[in-house]
């Protein structure tokens, strides 16, 4: 008798079902057992920045000793805002803690996607906080103009300062031999002498790329020329006489004394220019400044010093702190808040300062041996003046509009004032559409 092995429809379906069942069974068997209780697991999202290096190297190991299982997930700066906002809003729960750039706080605050950390037990009224830093954690802001819809809302602590980053001046001490230059005119004049003496190639370097980079570079000059961004009704006033003077100085004098390709420079190129020994001075955040003494990362170790930003009317820098928020969708919310309480304690902040990072508590600035000589300078800058960017959820768009116009003027090497007029009109139009007035 002969057995037929004809392929029938029924046998195909049976075989398919059998295969599916077998695959499911194997997959199930192959999976690890359901995870046990998460313990003190905390998933931290951060954008890649040298300002977080001391935290990563010294504080995460300490946190592990405290029983926190830290997962540190880094992304490029340019994609984190949208990624985290989508995570928070969709409730995806991919992170327990975001280390935000401080201008993003209003955007997350207005969308109501972050936990109330005050209710979680973090004391925002602790006098040890640097006042201007903890203020940035509240939404709506405790002082200053508020956007429509939030005029009467109670300020809630939705973020806490994490690394107290702010702009300071880094300069070549063999070019500026009398210490930090006090004014922008001095930066240029002494810088030119440095170029003539063959010590440097350019008096200054900055970021010229459209959007956030160019606005960040122009902002301290704008502040030091005495400019203000919005009035208390959200009308753009950055195109005031002071603002225009700062923009003309920036796209004219500054460009003439910077590398020829500065229009396309972002933080990596400006970092290379100052750490590589080509530039005489730079206004920057701590990311590259922390590398100033490391011969492995700079060609001019020992020749870079720090100072308060130069002034025209006043020496005001831009604040750009790392600020931590816990999304409402965080899978390990309680752990994240517990971690933050430990992290912002005076003891841990002192350790952070020892590790070389700018702390967020005043007491930590006063420790015997700060881990980096930038830290006391940062405190001096805080006392001299450091302002955050305007607290509006639409800052990203405002910065984009302004950045494009500034970048165009920078390409031309002139017309800074006109660029501000154009940008002010566009910002006003945009905010009108957004219902600000």
């Amino acid at each position: 008798m002969m057995h037929s092995s004809r392929l029938t429809r029924r046998s195909v379906i049976r075989g398919g079902l059998g295969l599916a069942l077998a695959t499911t069974a194997l997959t199930t068997l192959g999976l690890p057992m359901p995870a046990r209780a998460a313990g003190k697991k905390v998933i931290i999202g951060a954008f890649a920045d040298g300002g977080l290096t001391p935290f990563k190297q010294k504080i995460i190991p300490l946190a592990r000793e405290q029983g926190f299982d830290i997962q540190f997930l880094e992304d490029e700066y340019g994609v984190t805002l949208e990624k985290w906002f989508a995570d928070a809003q969709s409730g995806a729960g991919q992170y327990d803690l975001y280390l935000l750039d401080d201008p993003w706080v209003p955007q997350f605050g207005a969308a109501n996607v972050l936990e109330d950390l005050g209710a979680g037990g973090i004391d925002g009224s602790d006098k040890d906080w640097i006042g201007s830093m903890i203020d940035m954690g509240y939404w709506p802001p405790q002082a200053g103009p508020r956007v429509k819809g939030f005029e009467n809302a109670k300020p809630t602590l939705i973020c806490v300062p994490f690394v107290g980053d702010l702009q300071t001046l880094t300069y070549r001490n063999d070019v500026f031999t009398n210490g930090a230059p006090k004014t922008w005119d001095e930066v240029i004049a002494r810088g030119k002498e440095g170029v003539a003496a063959g010590k440097i190639k350019y008096p200054v370097v900055f970021r010229g790329v459209t959007g956030n980079p160019i606005v960040t570079s122009w902002y301290p000059i704008f502040l030091s020329f005495g400019g203000s961004f919005f009035d208390d009704k959200w009308n753009p006033i950055f195109n005031s006489a002071e603002g225009k003077a700062s923009a003309d100085f920036f796209v004219g004098t500054m460009k003439q004394n910077a590398p020829s390709g500065v229009v396309e420079f972002d933080s990596d190129q400006e970092g290379a220019a100052i750490l590589g020994g080509d530039a005489g001075a730079i206004i920057q955040y701590s990311g590259n400044a922390l590398k100033a003494d490391d011969p492995a990362q700079t060609k001019v170790a020992g020749k870079l010093d720090f100072g308060v930003v130069p002034k025209q009317q006043s020496a005001i820098a831009q604040m750009g702190i790392f600020i931590a928020g816990v999304p409402k969708s965080a899978p390990n919310k309680a752990n994240a808040i517990e971690f933050l309480k430990w992290y912002v304690s005076a003891e841990t902040q002192a350790k952070l300062s020892e590790a070389g990072s700018i702390p967020v508590k005043r007491s930590a600035f006063g420790i015997a041996k700060p881990g980096n000589r930038l830290i006391p300078v940062a405190l001096k800058q805080l006392d001299a003046g450091a302002l955050p960017r305007p607290r509006t959820p639409d800052w990203a768009k405002v910065e984009e509009l302004l950045g494009i116009e500034l970048n165009k003027a920078l390409q031309a090497g002139s017309g800074g004032g006109a660029a501000l007029d154009n940008a002010a009109k566009q910002v006003k139009d945009y905010l009108t559409t957004a219902g600000y007035y």
Partner: protein, 301 residues
């Protein structure tokens, strides 16, 4: 009796299975298409009629988002930049791709290797291509600047100059996507019948006559398909610009995809961005249909 009932039952079961089986087989694919294509499209259309604030819908506004687009200077600028980019890139790719395909149609030693080498750019990840071109174009440490300095020149300004940055982006795209044109057109050329060409040769037609009277007319349908495909694809160019210029300097390379991305994800204007992408989708579809109609008309005449 019992046997007959049993047989009828099996027949019925078989008939039922016959009826259901095609649908059962289609069900997984259909579910996936509905889930990942139809639903997002529908949701996008719905979102385009809503106003959003802080990432959440706050009300229906009908077609206002669509109307607003045409008075949005940034949108119009991005659209213009995109149209210029697509027109220039696809034209160069078509001409170069055709030329390469004609060259590689011939059989000579090493032709197989050459054909393989020519398609390499196409298989490199676009982000990697953009990073490499950034290293070539960078004015401080780029390869072009190094070359220029070695010859006694200064820094080469590509990414900091609006015209140069735009041209640089087109060059990148042409480098990466000419191989696709080449591949499609080579396949088209290889499938052409030999007889007309042999007849032309017997009649003493020169290379240009053969190309103008035979090759090009016969290749027109293939060329049209390749151009339409590349045009649709080029309209969606994103990653190369995102890495290379982020749309700058100024707005010189801000393609519609970058503007749409920023509008949707950075500025959280979800409804407006949805209207923007729907509009662009319709523009691309209209272009594709026009190209195909034009082709049919040309063929008919």
């Amino acid at each position: 009796m019992h046997g007959a009932a049993q047989a009828r039952k099996y027949r019925l079961q078989g008939a039922g299975l016959d009826l259901a089986l095609p649908y059962l087989m289609l069900a997984p694919g259909l579910t996936i298409v509905l889930g990942v294509l139809v639903y997002p499209l529908w949701d996008g259309l719905r979102a385009s009629t809503k106003a959003y604030r802080y990432g959440s819908p706050v009300g229906d506004i009908g077609l206002q988002n669509y109307v607003r687009l045409w008075s949005d200077v940034q949108f119009l600028n991005s659209l213009w930049v995109t149209v210029k980019f697509v027109a220039l890139s696809v034209s160069f790719e078509a001409v170069l791709g055709f030329a390469l395909a004609l060259f590689c149609l011939r059989e000579f030693q090493g032709i197989r290797l050459l054909r393989t080498v020519l398609i390499i750019p196409m298989v490199v990840t676009p982000v990697v291509v953009a990073i490499v071109f950034r290293l070539i174009y960078a004015s401080d440490a780029g390869m072009l600047t190094a070359l220029s300095q070695a010859m006694g020149g200064g820094a080469v300004q590509i990414l900091g100059n609006p015209v140069n940055a735009f041209v640089g982006l087109v060059v990148l795209d042409v480098w990466e996507w000419t191989p696709l044109m080449f591949l499609i057109l080579l396949a088209g050329l290889q499938s052409l019948p030999h007889e007309p060409f042999e007849a032309a040769r017997v009649d003493g037609a020169g290379a240009w006559r053969v190309f103008a009277d035979l090759t090009f007319p016969m290749m027109r349908p293939v060329l049209a398909v390749a151009i339409v495909l590349r045009t649709i694809d080029a309209f969606g160019t994103f990653d190369q610009v995102f890495v290379l210029t982020r749309g700058g300097p100024g707005e010189a390379t801000r393609l519609i995809s970058i503007y749409g991305y920023d509008t949707a994800f950075k500025f959280q204007q979800t409804g407006y961005a949805a209207a923007l992408f729907v509009t662009i989708g319709l523009v691309v579809l209209a272009l594709a249909f026009s190209a195909i109609r034009l082709l049919r008309r040309v063929d008919a005449s």
